[in-house]
């Protein structure tokens, strides 16, 4: 899970670098990011403290700030790393729109196995509504990207006559994203009574005629 943030390929670097000081740093950074995700997920960015993150990873807050120079930088790093993992579910250049929808369902299943990540995004996306929030731009851009990708998928399905009557691509896009976000909130408040994956599939079944 360690990342090669120091801009050297992990495999090659392990041999050539002196006494593995960079390797240690990378491991530490990764541990910090894990802890930070937990802390920001539990209380949001504003109420989560650097001290709490540092404590969980077993160092002082000053030590933590050696790796991430500010709290906002730390948040950005957490979001970046989760995006790498999450984006692999939705294909960037799908052969047909149905693949994207299947990717969303797979993403919902994956999310159900990582409550911390869901908590992070639900809390932050609400918190980051304020324009002065350090993650505001990130979330605005993220929604644009998601809307573009899902939108293209529904347009493709419409072209091929696979949307049910009276379903427009634009509405289907907004509604699908809203459904995923809304199900997450309910799931967080009562995990046992909400199956995000199943409900999303049922919902998409009502919009299209493709096999999911």
């Amino acid at each position: 899970m360690a990342r090669a943030d120091e801009a050297q390929p992990a495999s090659a670097a392990l041999k050539s670098r002196p006494r593995g000081s960079y390797a240690k740093s990378a491991v530490t950074r990764s541990a910090i990011l894990d802890a930070a995700l937990e802390v920001f997920a539990e209380g949001g960015f504003r109420s989560g403290s650097l001290r709490e993150v540092a404590m969980r990873v077993g160092m002082s807050d000053a030590g933590l700030l050696h790796h991430f120079s500010s709290k906002s930088k730390l948040l950005a790093a957490v979001l970046d790393r989760r995006d790498e993992l999450g984006q692999q579910f939705v294909p960037l250049e799908p052969d047909d729109g149905a693949e994207v929808l299947r990717g969303l369902i797979a993403l919902a299943r994956f999310n159900a196995s990582e409550p911390g990540v869901v908590e992070l995004y639900s809390t932050l996306s609400a918190e980051a509504t304020s324009p002065d929030h350090p993650a505001h731009e990130y979330f605005v851009g993220r929604y644009q990207m998601v809307r573009a990708r899902v939108g293209a998928a529904f347009v493709d399905l419409e072209d091929r006559g696979l949307l049910r009557p009276h379903v427009s691509p634009a509405f289907a896009t907004r509604a699908t994203i809203a459904m995923m976000d809304g199900l997450q909130v309910q799931w967080l408040l009562d995990r046992s009574s909400v199956d995000m994956q199943a409900d999303l599939r049922t919902f998409l079944d009502g919009l299209t005629t493709v096999e999911l």
Copy 2:
């Protein structure tokens, strides 16, 4: 909009109480609640400060605490007051389920005119996911109540054969609530491109055959 929180009927008290000191208090409390709603909406409960609330209403933080003995009490008062306003849209004992759905649409339109309230609930419901949040119990109970009311409406419609094929009342309930919550987040991030009322109506049209 003043509330009779001092446990005296407002009308009777106005005559008998000496020199209207209580009336002043009620006005002040109301002003505080307005400011608190704004502050909590912008940054959530944890990052919104009593000082900020006090500043907006033009007094010191100590002065504010004379009216609301703690920050949590203030939050509870804010939520109570908004509930009084919001709950009037969804009938408590509807003649038929369609009335409830029409109430939800009316509520969505009303919400679109009060961004602060939407921001408050979106931010808080995510923040209050944590069990130790002072509003956690409130939101758990609120979702139970909403689910019960909306659920009863869809059961009624099913009994009368007004649900579309393959739509179960339980799914329709979860999905409708998710749709409302999810649309709010998108609307907050980009108000001009989302019409909560229209999208909700379109969505409900896909679930039932009643005239909305």
